[in-house]
Symmetry: C2
Subunit: 352 residues, 2 copies
């Protein structure tokens, strides 16, 4: 009997042990589920728990809560994003400048005169410093020489071919992988909450449209940018739009609100930028009635990306930083507030 | 027994009669249900069963059928509509011209010099014929004088106030009720099938945007039109966009594909117009690859609306009609293919 009892006890003890284990396992699973659910519910996993992340989520919750005094109807949920330095990396040079340089080299055989003509001559010699001495005028000359004279369809194909293979000189990653993961999450989070997301960039509108839908989920009709004039023509009965060497619109600084009004016809309720070139867009956004959201990405992360602000030549953030601080706009320290900068690597060369 | 039998029979006969009636009623209800279901399933009830209606439905079914060689993914389902004469009535004059005339009268006290200056002087005397002698240049002068110098916000309010009360001189209905019911149905039908619908009009972009969402379900960001230049300014620290007396863009004829490319950045797969001013838009649409749809509204209904085409001064449909016939585009006879022209009346004066 004793033995039997003991025998009988053993499975009982084992049962107790087993059930303790099961309970513990169950607890672990539950905890894991809670953590995972939390992680899944976190719309901005690449953002550290900090003031920037909180400000974004607070804003979105405010304007989407029915019955709240801050509620904004879906059609009016317009958010505008600068591109260079806000959605993707603009250092060591804005991506479109690398495109211009490559186009100068590609077109050089058809332009023997460029060997003697600045800024083309210096570009062809690889001397970017001398080429840059031509300033904005020289740059515009290069853009017109390399971006026009073809049809919109031809230019689109040139951009598509280039962007499919062109790589960042430092990281070796495709430029389309040099986008900011935290900002991709903001785009998706806003869209999931009924926002229409627009790009409003100083960059060329037709340089961006061929890839923004794939990379950012932003369709061509929601891209605002600088442009050259185009002209409708029938060529052998086939209609084409020819790109003319004449500036149509410069979508920078005070041009950004103009471009927003021209394309969107509604004032954004949220705007995202990273330089003084975006300041007027943020001012225009902030000046609307009701709850508004303005955010500056502050590049202060020399380890994972680049650090530049008040003294940068191409993308200065100086007056904007003062105004953001004075008005309580969100200023994102990349270093402190982003736990990830770029999406998971798909290409070979490590980042820095 | 006989009596009882008879008595017994009576309710039976009544029952038979009742059940016949019930069956008949049931049949009627069923038939009605079928008819109603058919009517509810008809996306274009104001269109008679004819070639135009069939062509629209055939096109939409083709491009939305998954697996079909004609299938078009949702993001590429772009449809563009002219406004004047295609979505709303443009006779006896385009609506914006009535707005210009009213603005000249409203602003005259601030412009004593207009009493001596054409075309203003003639307008103020009610002599439209002499005013019109100034042609396009005179018209542009009036538009600049009455549409600019204010901020975009001020102009929007002026348009909203005017459109809320201004009435068609012949029917006495609000201009926003002088829209074509069959075209409202096409807009809704396309949107229900994943299309984005855009207006592409020679009219002023900021004259249309304040009311297109309410009247057509087309939000401001999907309105393309002619525009004046605007300038960003800070007035007492408050950002404004000032409307300058300088043409920015004329969205007519060859300008329509230019405007489409600038705003939408995708070629439409369907376009709707009513005059030669829309021909280039239709050509641009038709020249894309895959199944395309082009439609001209032909104003041939002098009884219910207006009849005009090849010899009209303001909205000639001549070359377009030839090209539509040659290329097999849909030409809608308003008289034959629309069983309704305008939406059910809400205002007092009967139409003609």
């Amino acid at each position: 009997m004793e033995k039997t009892r003991e025998y009988n006890m053993r499975p009982n003890r084992a049962y107790v042990r087993l059930s303790s284990l099961a309970a513990l396992t169950l607890l672990c699973i539950l905890l894991l589920a809670v953590v995972m659910a939390y992680a899944q519910n976190d719309p901005l996993p690449s953002w550290n728990d900090g003031p920037a992340k909180h400000s974004i989520i607070t804003f979105v919750e405010k304007v989407t809560k029915p019955g709240s005094p801050d509620f904004v109807p879906v059609p009016e949920r317009i958010a505008t994003f600068d591109n260079d330095g806000t959605l993707w990396c603009e250092k060591p040079l804005p991506v479109q400048l690398f495109f211009v340089l490559d186009r100068v080299k590609a077109l050089a055989p058809q332009h023997p005169e460029w060997k003697e003509k600045e800024p083309f001559a210096s570009i062809l010699k690889g001397d970017l410093k001398t080429a840059a001495a031509g300033g904005e005028r020289g740059l515009m000359e290069m853009i017109m020489a390399t971006h026009t004279g073809n049809t919109t369809g031809e230019f689109e194909q040139i951009v598509k071919d280039w962007i499919a293979t062109a790589k960042h000189p430092k990281t070796g990653r495709l430029y389309t992988e040099m986008v900011y993961q935290p900002m991709l999450e903001v785009l998706a989070y806003l869209r999931a909450n009924g926002f229409k997301t627009f790009i409003v960039s100083g960059g060329g509108i037709e340089f961006m449209r061929p890839w923004t839908e794939k990379v950012y989920g932003i369709p061509p009709e929601q891209v605002v940018g600088s442009s050259v004039k185009t002209k409708f023509e029938l060529r052998d009965g086939k209609p084409v739009l020819v790109r003319l060497p004449e500036l149509n619109f410069l979508d920078d600084k005070g041009g950004k609100p103009v471009g927003i009004n021209q394309h969107i016809g509604r004032r954004p309720i949220a705007s995202f930028g990273n330089s003084d070139g975006d300041l007027q867009m943020l001012q225009w956004t902030a000046a609307g009635s009701g709850t508004r959201f303005c955010l500056y990405v502050h590049h202060d992360d020399d380890a994972r990306e680049y650090a530049y602000d008040r003294k940068d030549h191409l993308a200065k953030l100086d007056q904007g930083l003062d105004e953001a601080n004075a008005k309580g706009w969100t200023v994102v320290s990349m270093k402190d507030e982003w736990n990830t900068v770029f999406p998971a690597k798909r290409s070979e060369t490590p980042l820095k």
